[in-house]
């Protein structure tokens, strides 16, 4: 359709994590998980190869977090904002439920995830306002 676009930072990180995970699992002999991760990386690669060239539908490109133009970028930004709000609400709910049902004890991983998401949220707000 047009000159291929660059991979989004999200997809670069996602692809790197999946490939690194696949290689790690291969090295440690967890074959079934390695096959799953490397297969996922290959499938993701094919989807992204098409998406950066503007092929397929806009829905497929946004499913792959690879918007092609400004309208798709706006739609992607909006949908990720919904994901972020949902993640914060879900994590807060999970922390509250754990604290209420386990005598105030909260799993460290869960609490860390909530703190991380809130820090990213606060940073993103400040960056967005500085750019606007």
């Amino acid at each position: 359709m047009d000159t291929p676009r660059q991979l989004t930072w999200f997809n670069r990180i996602l692809l790197a994590v999946v490939v690194a995970g696949g290689l790690w699992c291969t090295a440690t002999g967890v074959w079934w998980f390695a096959a799953g991760l490397l297969g996922t990386a290959a499938a993701l690669g094919v989807v992204l190869w098409r998406a950066v060239r503007g092929r397929g539908s806009d829905t497929r490109r946004l499913d792959a977090a690879q918007p092609f133009d400004e309208r798709e970028h706006a739609a992607s930004t909006w949908s990720f904002a919904v994901v972020g709000r949902t993640a914060i609400v879900a994590l807060v709910a999970a922390v509250v439920v754990q604290a209420a049902t386990r005598d105030g004890r909260v799993d460290a991983t869960l609490a860390s995830a909530l703190v991380l998401v809130c820090l990213v949220w606060a940073t993103a707000i400040r960056l967005a306002l500085r750019r606007a």
Binding site: M1, D58, R71
Partner: protein, 71 residues
């Protein structure tokens, strides 16, 4: 926002995909622009106006015939 993109495109015998390729946007985005579902950024509006050899004000119209002028 109302616009004349569909009329100008069909007058030139262009497909939505061809116009999208010329502007660097997808066919679906051209369709959304023509239907008035998506309002373009200022740079894209200027690109569209230049492509059709017209002005942004001539290509896009405020809903309900509003002019936006005082008085």
């Amino acid at each position: 926002m109302d616009n004349d993109i569909r009329r100008l495109r069909t007058e030139r015998g262009l497909s939505q995909a061809a116009l999208g390729q010329a502007l660097g946007v997808s066919r679906q985005t051209v369709n959304s622009l023509e239907a008035g579902r998506y309002d373009p950024s200022l740079p894209l509006a200027i690109l569209l106006a230049r492509y059709f050899d017209t002005t942004v004000e001539s290509l896009f119209h405020l809903p309900g015939g509003r002019t936006g002028r005082h008085g």
